[in-house]
Amino acid sequence: MLKIDRATYDAIVTHAKKDHPDEACGIVAGPEGSDTPTRFVPMVNAAGSPTFYEFDSQELLALYKEMDRSDEEPVVIYHSHTATEAYPSRTDIRLASEPNAHYVLVSTREHGNSEGPVEFRSFRIVDGEVTEEEVSVVES
């Protein structure tokens, strides 16, 4: 199960809506081993694409060095799908490389940049295997 606080949940949704129709991406870091996402870090989608996302390689390095210094890890890795469901694509599965992370997918296909609900789902992706998990939003 992914436990995430309301403010972080809302920040992910806002980012996804803002970048629609391109895919938005980012992470939520947390203390190593805590499984608790605490630090929201929106990233630039260097691919700038409606069907693909990739962190900029230099920003990726800076992010991981910072997490290393603070004894953090990527607890959540999120991105949006803007025309399809919030479920990992073959590409997502193939490229998933953080076995300990919760992979959050948000779909903005229904309301785009506008107000309105989104699909918000969370998955583990380990060795090509996808397992959906419950999302529990903790009201702050």
Binding site: I27, S49, F52, P74, S89, T91
Partner: protein
């Protein structure tokens, strides 16, 4: 000649769980061969044919080696090498060949 190599979580199965290992080599290609001799299997995760894998980033002293000569990037004693898998994906059924 010792070069410090930071290993990402997903490749630590090859290093007995170690976050960093030490290696040798005057180029990145030579370093990866040296790593392979101590951590068999790791090379295949980094290299596809004669090139660095598209979704593996390698940095020497904070510079992405794609801009410094790729596998031919020269290394010196004390250099720091960081390996990071790209964080990437998306709804596309196939991945773009070119970078960003």
């Amino acid at each position: 000649m010792a070069i410090d190599v930071r290993i990402p979580t997903i490749l630590r199965t090859y290093t007995g769980g170690e976050k960093a290992v030490s290696g040798e080599g005057s180029t990145l290609a030579a370093l990866i061969d040296d790593l392979e001799s101590n951590h068999p299997g790791i090379k295949e995760r980094l290299i596809d044919g004669s090139e660095l894998r598209r979704f593996v980033n390698v940095y020497v002293n904070d510079e992405d080696v794609r801009f410094t000569g790729g596998l031919e990037t020269k290394l010196d004693d004390g250099d720091e090498v960081v390996v990071l898998p790209a964080v990437a994906g998306g709804s596309a059924a196939t991945v773009p060949v070119a970078r960003g």
